[in-house]
Amino acid sequence: MAAFPPSHPDLFTPEAVSPPVPAEPAPGLPELEQLHPALWRAHQLGSVQGPVWPSGFAVLDTALPGGGWPGRCLSELLLAHPGIGEMRLLAPMLAAVQRSGRSVMLFEPPALPCGGALAGLGVDLQRLVVVHAARAEGVVPGVGAAPVRDARARAADLLWALEQALASGEAGAVLAWPMPGMRAESLRRLQLAAQAHRGPAFLLRELAAQRQPSAAPLRLALRPAGPDEITVQVVKRRGPPLVQPLTLALAPVLSMPVRARARRLAAEAAAATAPVGLAVRV
């Protein structure tokens, strides 16, 4: 048993991934974490048994166990509101999944994705399926009054569709936007179903879910960090907690001079206390 070295100042940094191993009493025995791929020490990044999909961002890959988005399990992305750069973060992985011959399925996205924008990110529209759970009517039209579906029935439909897609193993990558306030048992069921699903599966939920426990092995909180940049904070992973959030540069929306000006204005606004005025270039 290794003695906890109290003088080690930065034990929990990504650089200290493999600390010096203390001398074992029997040098012929294998290390504990090499006995089985599911075992990992708390101060090391665990390995992932299933397939791993590189995210396309080298800095992020070093922080994720296995070196990329894990397959065969759920990953949670927690956002304050949709539209902070999450699709640009996932686009390289989605394009890779489509190029390997599988389809990407989106479940109840917050708005209809713009085909042209996704195509610009490298996503193939022929291999993209969007599934909505909301239905306007509950009966075959022409037979009496149609009852309006309530939110709970919609949530149940969405969870059923998600479970079917994961358990079938036919979808390549799955992105889902479940209703807020998802129960822990639903998450457990989806995590079980995801074990039959070879590709990555993402649940994009609200930031308030950060404080609730979840069965997903990987949880990231995303926050916007200026134009064309996103801050990724690792809430949960198979490995030591990441203290410093990562800042990633996304596929640009603004041109470089505009981005530089935006950064300058943001710096000025942070320095001054006056509200930002209208700044339109003619």
């Binding site: 992985m93 713009c114 490298g122 291999r127 897609a165």
Partner: protein
């Protein structure tokens, strides 16, 4: 010639009981013909209900007896399904009474022998849920008689050797011959109980007393008289109806009867070597007047398959999902299943190891299942339209099997990701994106402070200069807008526009709108 005969001893009862659900099946069942019991199942017979009893007597013996009317048309439909099941093994199929006769000599080599053929026959008949007695012989009439007599004569020396067949037929009780039923008392009085007894008597005397029909039937069974049959074929269109003995108030109670009809549909499709592309289930209601309006007489459910299939389990799954979200307007009395869209084409051969073709089939099935439960319009694919107006450029269509792309080649995941990683590395110098990923379905009017737009009460910082979109004057959707990329207070990028020409000169009309968010 080798003939198989499939005798269905309880056909009428099973045809009647096909529409019953699980709770009703536990009750004893009997059928009435002209106010007398015509047939009773094992549970009713145990209670003492015999054919020939009057209705009141039977009900007194078994109070929870379920009575139904004997219906020859219903028996014919059930028998037709067995005929279709037999047509998958041989084209030479004929019907005699409640038995189906198959001439399988030409199919023996293909199916690998009589024993394998027999097991195939049993497997094909299993989904229809009938009790079958199978016998084989060298003559059609002989096989039919043996099947009616005993259930263990499926294969044996009598199947191929005429001497063994004759010896077995000699033991056959005379009551099984159709021509001997009217002379049953006379024959018993003479002490003629078996077919062998008949052969020992002079033929001219027998013909004079009982007519030629009895002798002809015996000769046909032995094989001394030719026995031509007309072969049956599967019809082009499938139509079958099933009357539910118990009124169904909820859609789930219809499920069992619908499953029986689907099994018959699959048997028909397999007999024609076709696959089902679409079918229609019609539920006939009892007409009621509720609240001054008449309920419709029929509810039709049309189920289109993205890829034609003859898989009973898959069709049942789709039908179950559709029935689960159907609310019946009135109780259902009768189900009718029709299929006129079938595809006669070769299927792709099955693969042992999963490849891209099987992955595509799997994806189509998943999409079909989602469409069956959620609705045909809920599973969509994006289809961009060449239009400058953002809300018209981003449209979606309901997905179908043809639109789901089949992968031409399979690239190994590592190569695919390596290719994309190099692409991402060049993002810093790539052209900037012009359109946001999330487009709001309706532009959201924004509050203003002075002339600046506000989002959630905080001012927006307009970054990228105006992009003027002015189009659509020809179809009534005139759009005159200046689009800006703006940064919200939390740092995310949004796409807003300012309407250049408000419709009227009112100052209260909003000018700034939020169109989308860059994700």
């Amino acid at each position: 010639m080798l003939w198989f005969a499939v005798h269905l001893p309880c056909l009428s009862l099973e045809a009647f009981g096909a529409g019953l659900d699980a709770t009703a099946r536990r009750r004893p069942v009997a059928l009435l013909a002209e106010h007398r019991i015509a047939a009773a199942d094992a549970a009713a017979a145990q209670a003492g209900v015999q054919p020939g009893l009057r209705r009141a007597t039977a009900l007194a013996l078994a109070p929870d007896l379920l009575l139904g009317q004997a219906d020859a048309a219903r028996d014919r439909s059930a028998l037709q399904a067995v005929v279709h099941a037999a047509l998958t093994l041989t084209p030479a199929v004929a019907v005699q009474g409640h038995a189906v006769l198959l001439e399988v000599q030409a199919s023996l080599r293909f199916f690998g022998g009589p024993a394998t053929l027999l097991s195939r026959l049993r497997d094909t008949l299993a989904p229809l849920g009938h009790k079958v007695q199978i016998a084989s012989a060298a003559t059609a009439q002989g096989a039919a008689l043996l099947a009616q007599w005993r259930g263990d004569l499926a294969l044996g020396p009598h199947s191929t050797q005429p001497a063994a067949l004759q010896a077995l037929l000699d033991e056959l009780p005379l009551g099984l011959l159709a021509a001997a039923r009217e002379h049953a008392e006379a024959l018993q009085g003479m002490g003629l109980h078996r077919l062998g007894d008949l052969h020992r008597l002079p033929r001219s005397g027998l013909a004079r007393r009982f007519g030629k029909a009895l002798l002809d039937e015996a000769d046909r069974a032995r094989g001394t008289r030719p026995d031509p049959r007309t072969w049956l074929a599967a019809p082009e269109r499938f139509e079958d109806r099933l009357e539910l003995p118990m009124r169904a108030d909820r859609a789930e109670q219809v499920l069992h009867g619908a499953a029986v009809l689907l099994a018959r549909l699959v048997a028909w499709a397999r007999a024609r070597q076709a696959r089902v592309a679409a079918f229609v289930l019609a539920l006939r209601h009892e007409v009621r007047h509720r609240g001054g309006e008449a309920t419709p007489a029929e509810t039709t459910l049309r189920i289109d398959l993205a890829e034609p299939s003859a898989d009973a389990a898959h069709l049942q799954l789709l039908l179950r999902e559709r029935l689960a979200r159907l609310r019946l307007a009135a109780p259902t009395l009768e189900l009718r299943l029709e299929c006129s869209d079938s595809v006669v084409a070769t299927t792709a051969s099955g693969e042992l190891f999963p490849d891209h073709r099987s992955a595509h089939t799997g994806l189509v099935r998943l999409v079909e299942q989602l469409r069956a439960r959620l609705g045909d319009e809920q599973v969509r694919q994006l289809q961009p339209v060449a239009d400058h107006r953002p809300e018209r450029a981003c449209t979606s269509v309901a997905v179908s099997a043809r639109s789901l792309a089949m992968p031409a080649t399979t690239v190994a995941p590592s190569d695919a990701v390596a290719a994309v990683a190099t692409e991402v590395a060049g993002f810093a110098s790539a052209w900037p994106q012009t359109r946001p990923v999330w487009l709001l379905p309706e532009p959201l009017p924004l509050a203003e402070r002075g002339v600046m737009p506000l989002l959630d009460g905080r001012a927006l910082l307009l970054l990228s200069g105006p992009e003027r979109i002015e189009t659509g004057w020809w179809d009534g959707g005139l759009v005159v807008r200046d689009y800006f990329v703006a940064q919200a207070a939390d740092g995310s990028l949004v796409w807003v526009f300012r309407q250049r020409l408000p419709g009227s000169a009112e100052l209260s009309q909003p000018i700034w709108f939020l169109q989308g968010r860059f994700a």
